[in-house]
Subunit: 335 residues, 3 copies
């Protein structure tokens, strides 16, 4: 029996999703990135999701599924496959080895796994899933449909919106890094704010989002955050922004809406980034950015010996500029 | 009833701490950083902690609380607020779902939460709080008044001082990264040292501090370490130093006292940093630093197209210097 | 009683391993790195593992243990010390406070600690040790002799080889960072692949290795990965490669065999690195590398004021090059 996808009846039916290069008969693939054009021409997939203009580039016998946005189309197909594979929730109810404080309020269809701890006064929305080893602090609010995968910690008073997904090992609401020098040591500044996270936010594994000093650290609706990302106290991240892996945002920085921060990039404290700012991987933002645009600041990769020479000359750059000016002055005189 | 702070009786009484910009009547704020001068002039706070020289800049009706160090003063005020809000310890005693080895020694007033594991021979000082999901290895020593927040792991034989605070997800004492090449693979070097942490150290969330190969990795008294910081084996961090988020310190490096290492910075292995060294964010320390001072080494942020051009020319820097020399020689000749 | 090491009978016997600089009588040390030559000459160790050519540089009375590779020799000695100190496994069997699904299959001599959760359909090989707070997802396969130290999470369907060691807090198989823009928000791309890890792999603490979008993320045999390393979806890391702390590898990158990636370095998505590529710490790989070799790209560290000036001139580099060309043209004309 062949599968019906849009108007196309496929034979053999689609059994799997696969990348163009490794797909075989029975696989569905997609073509979105022109870099993969050679693999499109040679694919053995039974069908490929493509834009209209690319439909003619498929090999003979391969069915084109034409859509406006092949990556979105692929996302939809993957969603179908996943839905078939996983039951929505494997278990339901509170595991006998979970620890739920008597004053915590649990909505309907909440799942709490073994070893999870839910503290006094916490409020857990309908359909929330709290995985093994998670810690939910006092008075925490978890919006409906959210999920903490495993070993996630949410400190007291933090508030998460609806349909939020937090991957394993992430820590929400640890104390911001606030200290005043006092003699040879430090005086800790109590961090009295908390963390507010909007709806439909996804946060990767082993991230850290600190609580605010006075007001809340805020991650607005529809933000996506990759793994090992550090968000310091009082930061505000605008709706729909994306932070790739290993990004660090220092205290009190404000990031606009729909920003894209590349992997390993850093944003210094107290800066403001406008909406629609794109920052390249491993760049350090050292000043506020008022205009949307694409900003970069990483050192180019070189063969090591070339890099050593370039680095040595780099230290002399101000001197070189002075010498260049002197030469210009000199050569201008005779004329 | 108005609050008494120093000599000033405030009406309305102080109910909350807030930043200058968002404070309203009943709020106490502070002014420490000149960048916030415009917000000081317009603040609606009922009182502001300021230096004497700034007391005259407050808007009419706003009470000045004059101190030498407004940030320290604010820390004290925040401490008062926090003390009123949180009971010192919510629960006491060992939770029935905690697992404490019979040979572990627990001091007075120790709190051990559900799901925590304390191994054989561990020694837990008076007033220590061990949160849910924490793992304390064999023979670990935790000094009086210390706190492991949640899901903290301390491997066997590590020693923590008094009043140490470790945030969630941090791992103390994992094996240092020691391997010798053997054929196509690696031979692991057993890591026989452990980790020694001094008094009043605070370590953020999801950090990693590896055990030494032979001797201990050491974090001395009064150090503060932010989130997602990596401290490799055999490292020594001098008293009173601060490491901001995402810093990485490679094996056997020694950092002096009162150093400040900016976020995302790196220190290569086997280097020595003097006391009072300040390193800018995302700089890489590639040589020992013998003199106190302020050191930097990050690529400046640029508009992407300018960065692409600058990067291309950067590769040619040694060539440009040679050409500059040739020109200098040429223009010197005629004179 | 003296120890017998190779042909040498030592008196006093060796009691401890120690670095050259801090060793005392009864200690065994090793000399591998020429930087430590001054410490070799002055060491108080009773014996030192050295290459033949260095044997004559030991102080009088210090026994030379001559080997081809002193670091490997030291690894062997450390292994002996460790074996004497630690029983192979402290406990055996499944702790009553562990949670093992009825359909999980456990091999012989498996150890499961308190608070660990093993999900339905998981397959745990002979001699595997699963520490406190670990989460093993559905259908996960753990090869014989592997160890998850504590609070490790392995998501559903991931497969680990034999003799794999995963340190605390590491997360294997979280969703890759795959999203398609949809209006102001994002549509999640279900991540249908998993993670495959080969034999004899060691992964440090608080790392994240994401599951693939369609196919598996792969870490081949004999790889070693330090702490806080991020490996994104669809990445492939060739056998025998080493990734130092805080490295980030973006999606679909392929790293060859025996590569060495320095601490804090980054590799952009979809790139390919040949075998035997070495990348310096905190360098960003922005293009595929087809040739083995040593590549670098970090900004040199400078005194801050020099760095500020160099950075300012850096922005003007393309302009400087143009002016240099103009001068060359000008000076060429008259001749």
């Amino acid at each position: 029996m062949g599968a019906d996808i849009g108007n196309s009846r496929l034979d053999p039916p689609i059994r799997r999703l696969a990348p163009l290069g490794s797909a075989v008969g029975g696989d569905l693939s997609f073509f979105n990135d022109p870099r993969y054009a050679p693999q499109l021409a040679g694919t053995r997939a039974s069908a490929v999701i493509v834009r209209e203009q690319d439909a003619g580039r498929l090999p003979a016998g391969c069915v084109a599924l034409v859509v406006d946005d092949p990556y979105l189309g692929f996302a939809a197909a993957a969603g179908l496959v996943q839905a078939r594979r996983e039951p929505a929730v494997a278990a339901t109810g509170v595991h006998p080895a979970a620890h739920v404080a008597p004053t915590a309020k649990l909505g309907r269809n909440v799942v709490v796994a073994a070893g999870a701890v839910i503290s006094a006064g916490a409020s857990v929305g309908e359909g929330v899933a709290i995985g093994p080893g998670c810690f939910v602090g006092e008075r925490v609010v978890l919006g409906a449909g959210s999920r903490l995968v495993a070993n996630v910690c949410v400190y007291a008073d933090c508030q998460l919106g609806e349909q939020v997904l937090i991957h394993a090992g992430t820590v929400i609401g640890a104390d911001g890094f606030g200290f005043a020098r006092e003699g040879e040591g430090w005086r800790k500044i109590p961090q009295l704010g908390s963390v507010t996270i909007g709806d439909r936010v996804e946060i990767g594994a082993n991230c850290t989002i600190d609580r605010g000093a006075l007001e809340d650290t805020r991650v607005e609706d529809d933000c996506i955050i990759d793994n090992l990302v550090q968000v310091a106290h009082n930061v505000r991240i605008g709706a729909g922004s994306a932070l790739a892996g290993c990004v660090g945002v220092a205290g009190s920085a404000t990031i606009g809406r729909r920003c894209l921060i590349g992997g390993g990039a850093g944003v210094l404290g107290h800066l403001e980034l406008a909406d629609d700012v794109v920052v390249s991987p491993m760049s350090l933002v050292t000043r506020s950015i008022r205009q949307p645009g694409f900003y970069s600041g990483s050192f180019p990769l070189m063969d090591n010996s070339r890099w050593e020479r370039a680095g040595a000359v780099l230290r002399q750059l101000p001197d070189m500029r002075a010498r260049l000016r002197a030469l210009e002055k000199l050569t201008r005189k005779p004329t």
